[in-house]
C-alpha cells in the first residue's frame, strides 16, 4: 500500500482509517465532539460501496452494529460520553454474544450533559464493564491523531481475534485537533467467521447469535469462557509506552491527552534536574500492571494525572500494591492542566515526601 501523509482532525483520521481497514458498515448518531466521524463516513463510505447509516439514536446504532457484526461484517460506531452511556445495554449484549466490533468514545466531560470539552471521566465505564453483567472490552487509548488512525486497524484485528468488542477511548481534544497522519502502514486483515448469521446452508447446523443462557449451569460455563478469554487478552495484548524511565526516580502515569501534557511536563522537570519518567498505558484493558509493579521497585513516588476525579489511579495503586506512594493530580469539567501545573505538583509532592 502506498504511504500517504495528510493533515487531519483526529475524528476524520479515525473515519478514514475505518475505510482503509475494511470497515463494512458504520452506524452512528450525531454528538459533539465526534460528529465528524459520521459526517466523513456519510460522504466517503458510499464511494467504496460500504454501508453508512445515521440511526435514530445511539440505542439503535449499537443494535444495528449487533446485527451487522452478528452477520460477520466489520462494523463500527462512535459517539461521545452521553451517547456511549445510551449504548451500554447493547455493548453488554455484544460482549455476551461475543461479537467483534469497534466502538469509539470521544470522551467529553460529565456527568450528565456536562460539557463538550475533553475529559477522561469515562475510564471506569470503559474498563470495568460499563453495562450490566461480567464482561470486559479491550480498551485502546490514543494520544495522537496518528494513533486515532492506527488503533482502528489494531482495534478491528483484536476484535476479530478475540470475538470481543473493542473500544477506542479518545477525548474531545484528540478528536478535534489537527495533526499529520500517515496512512498505508497497515492492511485490512479480515478473517473467516463461520459462526455468522448469513443464512443456513444444508451443509451446517444453524447459527444463532445470543447472550441468553437461561440455565444457570450453562451461563456459568459461558461466564467462565469469557473470563478465560479476558485472561488470554491480559497475557498477550498489554501495550504501553515508556518515556525516560531508565534512570527515573519518579514516575508519572497518564494516558491519552493527559499523557501528551505529562510528556511535556517530564521534559520541563528534567531541565530542572528532576529524574522523572512517564508510563503511558496504551491498553487500559488489559492494564499494564506488570510493568508498573516492576517500575515501582525503583521509584520513590508515582503521580497519576487524569482529566477526572481520580479513576485510573485506582488501577495504578492496585498494580504497585503499596510498594510506593501513588499520588493523583486531576483537572475536571473540560479544563486541562498546564505542564507547569503538573511540574509544580510533582515538586510539592517530592518536597513533602522528603520532609516525611
Amino acid at each position: 500500500m502506498k504511504m500517504e501523509t495528510r493533515l487531519m482532525k483526529g475524528n476524520e483520521a479515525m473515519a478514514e482509517a475505518a475505510i482503509q481497514a475494511g470497515c463494512d458498515a458504520y452506524f452512528g448518531y450525531p454528538i459533539t465532539p465526534q460528529s465528524e466521524v459520521l459526517e466523513y463516513l456519510a460522504k466517503e463510505m458510499p464511494k467504496h460501496g460500504r454501508v453508512v447509516l445515521q440511526a435514530e439514536s445511539e440505542v439503535a446504532s449499537i443494535n444495528m452494529i449487533y446485527g451487522a457484526a452478528g452477520a460477520g461484517f466489520r462494523s463500527m460506531t462512535s459517539s461521545s460520553s452521553p451517547g456511549i452511556s445510551l449504548m451500554q445495554e447493547g455493548i453488554s449484549y455484544i460482549a455476551g454474544a461475543e461479537l467483534p466490533c469497534l466502538i469509539a468514545n470521544v470522551n467529553r466531560a460529565g456527568p450528565g450533559l456536562g460539557t463538550i470539552q475533553p475529559g477522561q471521566g469515562d475510564y471506569f465505564q470503559s474498563t470495568k464493564g460499563g453495562g450490566h453483567g461480567d464482561y470486559r472490552l479491550i480498551v485502546l487509548a490514543p494520544s495522537s491523531v496518528q494513533e486515532m488512525a492506527d488503533f482502528v486497524f489494531l482495534g478491528f484485528d483484536l476484535a476479530d481475534k478475540y470475538r470481543n468488542p473493542v473500544l477506542i477511548l479518545s477525548d474531545g481534544a484528540i478528536g478535534q485537533m489537527m495533526e499529520k497522519v500517515t496512512f498505508g502502514k497497515f492492511k485490512p486483515n479480515k478473517v473467516d467467521k463461520p459462526w455468522a448469521t448469513v443464512g443456513k446452508p444444508a451443509s451446517r447446523q444453524r447459527n444463532y447469535i445470543t447472550s441468553l443462557h437461561i440455565k444457570p449451569e450453562m451461563l456459568e460455563k459461558h461466564n467462565e469462557k469469557l473470563i478465560a478469554k479476558y485472561e488470554e487478552v491480559k497475557k498477550h495484548e498489554v501495550r504501553y509506552e515508556e518515556i525516560d524511565t531508565s534512570d527515573a526516580e519518579y514516575l508519572m502515569v497518564a494516558y491519552g491527552l493527559s499523557a501528551r501534557i505529562c510528556h511535556k511536563a517530564v521534559n520541563m522537570a528534567r531541565e530542572k534536574g528532576i529524574k522523572v519518567g512517564l508510563l503511558r498505558p496504551i491498553t487500559l484493558f488489559p492494564f499494564p500492571t506488570e510493568i508498573l509493579n516492576k517500575l515501582a521497585d525503583k521509584m520513590k513516588l508515582m503521580l497519576t494525572v487524569e482529566l477526572n476525579a481520580g479513576q485510573m489511579v485506582e488501577d495504578v495503586r492496585l498494580s504497585v500494591n503499596g510498594k510506593v506512594p501513588v499520588e493523583f493530580y486531576g483537572r475536571l469539567g473540560g479544563m486541562l492542566p498546564s505542564p507547569d501545573e503538573i511540574v509544580n505538583k510533582l515538586e510539592n509532592l517530592i518536597n513533602k515526601n522528603h520532609a516525611l
Partner: protein, 301 residues
C-alpha cells in the same frame, strides 16, 4: 372468607398432584408407544397429508398450551419452506415469550435486546440486501420499549418483514399491562382495568405505521380459527415475497391469545378475540401495494 378460598385452592392442588402421581406410569407408556421412530406415513398403508415444516426443529416448545406463538412460528416456517429460502433467511427474535424462537426455527437467527429487533434487522439487511430478514416481536417489545426503532425502521422503508404478535399483554413476565391492552382490561399492573385517563387508549400500531411512506404492506390477521389461520399464512407469504421488490417494509400484525395471562381456557381465549379484541383491532388489510407496484407483484408470484 379469604382463608376458606385459600384452603379450597390447596385442596384442588393436592387432588391434581395425586392424579399426576397415579398417571405417571400410564403416561410414560403412552409416550413410549404413541410416538413412532419414523413418521407413520412411511408405512405404505398411510398417505402423508400433513407434516411439520422442514425448517421447524423437532423439539418440545416452552409455550403454554393453546398459545398462538407455536402456531405462528409454524406458519412462518411453512412460508420459508414453500418459498425455499432457508439458506437466505435470517430471523431476529425479540425479548418476550418468543425469546427462544431460535430454538424452534431451523434457520440462522439473532437474538435482539428488548425492543431493538428492528435495529438489529436493519443492521443485517443493510449488509445483505438480497437476503430475507424478518423480526418476530410481541406488543411490549415492538410497541412500548421498541416503538422508536419500529417507527424509524419502517419510515426508512427497510425491506424486511415484521411479524407483530399482539396479545394485549406482557406474556413472559406473566401478565402486565401492554401498550395494546384493551380499555378496562385487567392485568397484574392494571388490577382495576386499563384506565384511559391514566394510560390512554391502546396503541393501534398497524394503523399508525400505515401512514409512513416506508410501509409497503400492512395487514392485521388472527389465528383463532382455521379460516383465520389460512388468511394469516397468506399474509405472511405475501410479506416475505414482497422483500424481493425492495419497496419497503411488510408488516403483519397477528392478534394472538394468551390463555395463561388472560386466565381463560384456549377456547375462551379464541372467543375473546372474536368478541372483544377485534373491536379495538379490526382484522384485514390496512395498506396494500397500489398502481405500478401491483404489476411488480406478479414478478414475485
Amino acid at each position: 372468607m379469604r382463608s376458606e378460598e385459600h384452603l379450597l385452592v390447596e385442596e384442588q392442588q393436592i387432588t391434581v398432584k395425586e392424579d399426576i402421581a397415579e398417571n405417571t406410569t400410564a403416561e410414560k407408556e403412552i409416550t413410549e408407544t404413541v410416538i413412532p421412530d419414523k413418521p407413520r406415513c412411511l408405512d405404505e398403508e398411510y398417505e402423508m397429508v400433513y407434516h411439520r415444516p422442514k425448517t421447524m426443529v423437532d423439539v418440545s416448545m416452552h409455550y403454554c398450551p393453546g398459545c398462538a406463538h407455536s402456531l405462528v412460528h409454524k406458519l412462518v416456517m411453512e412460508v420459508v419452506d414453500e418459498l425455499g429460502i432457508q439458506e437466505q433467511t435470517i430471523g431476529v427474535a425479540p425479548v418476550g415469550c418468543a425469546v427462544f424462537a431460535y430454538d424452534y426455527m431451523d434457520i440462522d437467527m439473532s437474538e435482539a435486546a428488548h425492543g431493538r429487533a428492528c435495529a438489529t434487522a436493519t443492521g443485517i439487511k443493510r449488509l445483505m440486501p438480497d437476503k430475507y430478514v424478518f423480526t418476530y416481536q410481541g406488543d411490549g417489545d415492538l410497541a412500548a420499549i421498541g416503538i422508536a426503532e419500529t417507527l424509524h425502521t419502517i419510515n426508512r422503508g427497510e425491506n424486511i418483514t415484521i411479524v407483530f404478535m399482539n396479545n394485549a399483554v406482557y406474556g413472559m413476565t406473566s401478565g402486565q399491562m401492554a401498550p395494546t391492552s384493551l380499555v378496562g382490561m385487567k392485568t397484574t399492573t392494571s388490577p382495576y382495568g386499563r384506565d384511559v385517563a391514566e394510560y390512554g387508549e391502546p396503541i393501534r400500531v398497524s394503523e399508525l405505521i400505515s401512514h409512513l411512506p416506508g410501509a409497503f404492506y400492512v395487514t392485521r390477521q388472527a389465528v383463532n380459527s382455521a379460516t383465520a389461520v389460512r388468511k394469516a399464512k397468506k399474509a405472511l407469504m405475501n410479506a416475505f415475497r414482497y422483500q424481493k421488490l425492495k419497496k419497503g417494509t411488510s408488516f403483519v400484525e397477528i392478534i394472538g391469545n394468551c390463555p395463561s395471562n388472560w386466565k381463560m381456557t384456549p377456547i375462551e381465549a379464541s372467543k375473546f378475540i372474536d368478541d372483544e379484541m377485534i373491536k379495538t383491532f379490526p382484522l384485514g388489510d390496512i395498506k396494500l401495494p397500489k398502481g405500478e407496484d401491483l404489476k411488480l407483484l406478479e414478478e414475485v408470484k
